[in-house]
């Protein structure tokens, strides 16, 4: 690990003031589960590391209190909230099980105790070429994506238009996008709000990250609300990950779904895919075809097939196309409260 200067500001404003306006020379440290790895591998070599552990209670607070009557429950989660705090939050568990399930499946207990919401959204990708200090890949300034014609069994299957074929590693992002969440960001000029669906992008070079934030911006919180008044407890959501290992592994593919009101025929369903492209993917056509339908094994399976359409897998990851269809089907059935036939 290269030497660096450590800062521990006590306000978000002071933290932002310490950030440089180009990527690489300064890094934010929250749980450290990603940054420290990158530093140990010499992939990240910041001169300044700015710890967020001194920021106030607001930065890690989870606000999820059902309002009186039948209003939707607004939720705001501070970027510093740990994955374990999210996974174990009783009100979130009841209202938005997709989110708590996804948070509870990240890494192992140590990762969830340290890792934060902000870090989960802002983390770097897991491509093994990117993470190898000795490989100068496209997004480290090289001329070539080594995964394109190399070892790519875990890489993107929706590859059209992408020179770098990473998958976005966040499993909370697809869920939060399905919940129509937005991110509050602090920069040198003040706060701004970004829709999470527009938060991620495919990096194409060393001066870009997996998201649209500027190098001197900091994620403060993520907010969302149940969309339909009066339907809080009729709101269905689920996240399904196809995993090779059941402990401590990345999903091969993930599907997150939200169903605004679970009464017979559904409307305005959201389906978001994770680990299949450089960004989470909103499967709009698949969701649309469920309008006015009941969620059954047949309709869920059809939506899954549609969600997988258009995939353009690489040499070794064609199998993930089938997994997308299965993950979407199972997420929909789970959200709609069906029996999990795959867990007999």
């Amino acid at each position: 690990m290269k030497n660096f200067v450590y800062y521990r500001p006590s306000t978000a404003k002071d933290a932002v003031a310490l950030l440089a306006d180009r990527w690489g020379s300064t890094e934010l440290l929250a749980g450290g589960t990603d940054l420290l790895d990158l530093q140990k591998e010499y992939v990240a070599q910041p001169e300044k590391v700015i710890s967020l552990s001194g920021l106030g209670k607001d930065f890690r607070e989870i606000k999820a209190i059902p309002p009186p009557g039948t209003q939707p429950m607004p939720v705001t989660i501070g970027a510093g909230a740990t994955l374990d705090e999210i996974a174990e939050h009783p009100m979130l568990k009841r209202a938005y099980p997709a989110l708590t399930t996804a948070a509870g499946m990240v890494g192992g207990p140590q990762i969830r105790n340290m890792g934060t919401l902000g870090g989960n959204l802002g983390q770097r990708n897991r491509c093994w070429y990117f993470r190898d200090e000795h490989v100068n890949c496209l997004i480290k300034g090289g001329k070539h994506c080594f995964a394109l014609d190399g070892e790519n069994r875990y890489h993107a299957i929706f590859t059209q238009g992408h020179k770098c074929v990473i998958v976005n590693p966040s499993t909370l992002a697809p869920v939060l996008i399905a919940l129509n969440a937005s991110v509050e960001v602090l920069g040198p000029k003040g706060k701004r709000t970004v829709e999470l669906a527009k938060f991620f992008k495919a990096p194409a070079g060393p001066n870009e990250r997996e998201h649209v934030l500027a190098p001197d911006e900091l994620i403060l919180s993520v907010s969302f609300a149940g969309k339909v008044p009066g339907q809080l407890w009729r709101f269905g959501s689920a996240s399904y990950e196809v995993r090779h290992k059941q402990s401590y592994d990345w999903p091969l593919v993930q599907a997150a779904v939200a169903i605004p009101h679970l009464d017979g025929k559904v409307q305005d369903v959201r389906i978001v895919l994770g680990h299949v492209a450089p960004t989470p993917i909103v499967a709009e056509r698949a969701a649309k075809m469920l309008d006015g339908q009941e969620i059954t094994e047949a309709t869920a399976a059809a939506a899954g097939e549609t969600a997988a359409e258009g995939a353009k897998p690489l040499s070794q990851n064609g199998y993930k196309v089938k997994l997308v269809a299965v993950a979407v089907k199972r997420a929909l059935l789970t959200a709609a409260g069906h029996k999990k036939y795959w867990e007999a």
């Binding site: 192992g108 897991r126 093994w128 070429y129 190898d132 000795h134 490989v135 080594f146 014609d149 190399g150 070892e151 069994r153 875990y154 196809v242 995993r243 090779h244 290992k245 059941q246 402990s247 401590y248 592994d249 990345w250 091969l252 040499s315 070794q316 990851n317 064609g318 199998y319 089938k322 997994l323 299965v326 795959w342």
Partner: protein, 149 residues
């Protein structure tokens, strides 16, 4: 002095995702003279754990262009955790008249073979390459011999 053992595995195969879970392994191990029963039990259980990893997870992935291993870490060189491990029943065959023989490596040999046979028994097709990853199981089910891409 020879050594032998017999193992039987029970698996659950998700035929939609190709994910294999080993639910139970029974290991009967020829141990010669057992010097310490607890250590011996635990050697055999440890051998089964290693065998489950051979069967399902462990693979050194080499990059064909650079000759570098792309997974030289515990992240993608996969090893099963607690949730991935079966219930393990160990039966030791104590034969003091044979004297002290080895029990460290022998129990690791049969496990992945038993698991491979259990998958064959469940699916009716053979997955021909370890580890039995979701990709290879799906390929075998699709009639492509389980070699993956």
């Amino acid at each position: 002095v020879g050594v032998c053992g017999v193992q039987v595995a029970e698996v659950r195969v998700d035929t939609e995702t190709g994910v294999v879970r080993v639910t139970r392994v029974v290991a009967v191990q020829d141990c010669g003279l057992i010097v310490d029963k607890l250590t011996c039990d635990s050697q055999v259980a440890g051998g089964v754990v290693m065998g489950v990893n051979y069967a399902l997870f462990e693979e050194r992935i080499m990059d064909r262009h650079t000759g570098r291993q792309v997974n030289p870490d515990m992240e993608f060189y996969k090893l099963g955790g607690l949730k991935d491990m079966p219930k393990i029943d160990v039966h030791l065959v104590d034969m003091p008249e044979r004297g002290v023989i080895g029990v460290g490596e022998p129990p690791t040999i049969s496990t992945h073979v038993a698991i491979g046979n259990a998958i064959f028994n469940a699916l009716g097709v053979r997955v021909s390459q370890t580890p039995f990853t979701p990709e290879r199981v799906l390929a075998a089910l699709a009639g492509r011999g389980g070699k993956g891409s």
